[in-house]
């Protein structure tokens, strides 16, 4: 089932959480809503679930072809997983998972045996077979989150919505659980949307990433798209580390202090102020000058603990640059702290401001 939302706006008091958001989520894909806190991602998820209502009348939410915007949360048939699990504390794991089946109207409610079979099946899926009789407070965080997921899946929802599903877990469990979620999604094939502020999580798990800020969608695309081909400055800044330079475009060339860049993107542009973004791995560092478009720098710090060497450099305009490279490449440069070096930009993104 695909999800399509159109023209959704939502305010809380004077705070605009969502500003005319439209979005299409393709069938059976796993999609991440990514953004900083206050970007509106959780509000959007809750509106899709029916836990919040959009402010405006012309908004629409389609599950496939059907507009569900006027349908109550109880009738939307979505599975929702809360950040803090929201398990029923006085019920066992079994009763928690069975809840959605037991509250169904008598006509459609499965028999007790059917419910038991279904719950056992789900317990197998979340790998907690032996813990059916436990209470939520006897489980670890990761186990609780899996129970919450099984509870949401029990009613065979058409859409699975997860609100910061791993937000309350520690780093190691988080990593395990998100890989498990990826695998689970391949098994059950339900259109799934999850909210996260962790870009690594979004890029690793999701088929598509929706980057949000200030109640608007900045970009939607595959993880490769948003990482390598960011469409806006916000996405460029938010995803991955980035060096930022302020300067101007003059006769088709980017001039950022002594750093001059030629780029097809700005070939036609005449005199405008601009900002250039360069990823740490897109800067080349050498100990000897080798040609044009190079800027002299001083090595401030060298961080070698990690899979790649990270350098902190300063040019003679007092700009600090972050660069990273492999350990082998670093050895080749023969550089150390306080040495002089030269940098050149291998790849960049330049955003031109509207000229005043």
């Amino acid at each position: 089932m695909s999800i399509k939302v159109e023209h959704i706006s939502k305010s809380f008091g004077t705070f605009k959480a969502l500003d005319d958001v439209s979005l299409t989520i393709p069938t059976n894909k796993l999609v991440a809503l990514l953004g900083p806190s206050g970007s509106g991602k959780t509000t959007l998820l809750r509106i899709i679930a029916g836990l919040e209502l959009p402010d405006n009348r012309d908004s629409a939410i389609y599950f496939d072809e059907e507009d569900v915007v006027d349908r109550k949360v109880t009738d939307r048939q979505v599975g929702f997983v809360f950040q803090h699990y929201a398990l029923f504390r006085h019920m066992t794991v079994f009763e928690n998972i069975a809840f959605g089946l037991k509250v169904q109207p008598k006509k459609v409610r499965p028999s007790m045996e059917e419910i038991k079979t279904r719950v056992d099946e789900l317990l197998g899926l979340i790998q907690l077979e032996g813990l059916a009789g436990r209470y939520p407070n006897q489980l670890s965080g990761g186990q609780r989150q899996r129970v919450a997921l099984a509870r949401a899946l029990a009613v065979e929802p058409k859409v699975l919505l997860l609100d910061e599903p791993f937000g309350a877990l520690d780093a190691k469990v988080r990593l395990e659980l998100r890989r498990w979620l990826r695998k689970l999604h391949e098994e059950i094939n339900v259109t799934s949307v999850f909210v996260t502020h962790d870009q690594e999580e979004a890029l690793e798990v999701a088929d598509y990433v929706v980057v949000m800020s200030n109640g608007k969608i900045e970009q939607m695309g595959t993880p490769e798209d948003v990482f390598h081909r960011p469409e806006t400055e916000f996405v460029m800044n938010f995803i991955g580390q980035v060096n930022q330079f302020h300067g101007r475009v003059e006769r088709g060339r980017g001039v950022f202090g002594k750093l001059v860049v030629e780029d097809d993107e700005i070939a036609g542009a005449e005199n405008a102020s601009a900002r250039m973004f360069v990823r740490p791995h897109e800067i080349k560092v050498t100990s000897r000058s080798s040609g044009n478009h190079e800027v002299p720098v001083t090595v401030l710090h060298v961080h070698k603990a990690g899979p790649r060497v990270r350098l902190e450099l300063q040019d003679d305009e007092n700009r600090t640059l972050q660069v990273d490279m492999s350990h082998d490449d670093f050895l080749m440069t023969e550089l150390g702290k306080n040495d002089k070096a030269y940098v050149s930009v291998q790849n960049s993104r330049i955003f031109i401001s509207e000229e005043v």
């Binding site: 029916g50 009738d75 979505v78 029923f88 509250v103 169904q104 949401a152």
Partner: protein, 295 residues
């Protein structure tokens, strides 16, 4: 192996040192505990013992005679009748008010919380007088009710209304902090799973607040049966008709009928003791619920 043992020994020493450094000397400790115990003995346990001793001072027959006296039976009946109305009404009101305050946002919420506390702040005698001014024969609504043949003041309805007034904070006060701590996520989860409003309340909310509710009802019941001030003002003290147990005790005492007075009083004391037991059980369970909330 040795390492572990040393570590444990060290930890043990440390915890002892910490205890000693943060506690008082034995003398101060015993002084504090002793003062508290003497106070309890003098002002709580001794009076309670005297109530029972006086009640049985004329022998067991006189005790039962006092209890089966028609006026005493009428007083017991009226007290039970009042509690039987007041407690369920407070159950409904308390749950509704606590639900509204802890689960919804609306204007005038803080005003509602303040109003719920009003009966705690107002002297019961004043509360009684308020109802006389409203429902008395020269009061505001009294003449209208009287002309329709309904007497409120100096009759059972007045007693029920006055008791309702003084008892209505108990359940709500007990539930509000509990429900606020528990939040609304479980209810939201139930709704998403397709549960109706009633299913959500009966299967999720009610079990979560069960012990808090019982605790509130117990306190409410104790106050309803023991209320003196407000009821005294509106009752009119008509023997066999508008006397509750506390009022009956006072009348008997004023008539120097000490044995009978203490016999009825001992019934109220037993009620207090039972309340205390149920209350402490509920308290343990509530603490358990709150610990679960924090986890």
């Amino acid at each position: 192996m040795t390492g572990t043992v040393t570590l444990q020994a060290k930890n043990k020493n440390r915890s002892i040192v910490q205890t000693e450094s943060t506690t008082e000397s034995p003398l101060v400790r015993w002084l504090l505990i002793g003062t508290a115990l003497v106070f309890l003995l003098l002002f709580l346990i001794l009076p309670l013992l005297i109530v029972f001793r006086e009640a049985f001072s004329g022998g067991i027959n006189l005790f039962f005679q006092a209890l089966t006296d028609p006026d005493a039976l009428a007083a017991i009946r009226l007290t039970l009748f009042t509690a039987a109305i007041v407690v369920p009404v407070n159950l409904v009101f308390g749950v509704c008010a606590a639900w509204a305050i802890s689960k919804f946002k609306f204007k005038g919420k803080s005003l509602l919380i303040t109003l719920i506390d009003l009966p705690f702040a107002v002297s019961p005698v004043i509360a009684g007088l308020i109802f006389i001014l409203i429902f008395g024969s020269r009061g505001w609504l009294g003449p209208w009710f009287l002309s329709h043949g309904i007497q409120i003041i100096f009759a059972t309805p007045g007693i029920v209304i006055a008791t309702l007034f003084v008892t209505f904070p108990f359940v709500a006060r007990e539930l509000i902090p509990l429900m606020q701590a528990q939040g609304t996520e479980e209810e939201q989860a139930a709704r998403v799973l397709g549960a109706s409003g009633w299913q959500t309340f009966s299967r999720v909310t009610l079990p979560n607040i069960k012990w808090g509710l019982i605790y509130g009802l117990i306190l409410c019941n104790a106050r309803a049966m023991g209320e003196f001030g407000a009821v005294s003002v509106v009752s009119g003290h008509i023997r066999g008709y508008t006397n509750t147990m506390p009022l009956h005790v006072e009348i008997l005492y004023n008539e120097y009928n000490f044995t009978a007075a203490f016999a009825i009083a001992s019934l109220l004391a037993v009620l207090a003791l039972v309340t205390l037991v149920i209350k402490s059980v509920a308290e343990v369970k509530i603490t358990g619920d709150q610990i679960q909330t924090k986890l």
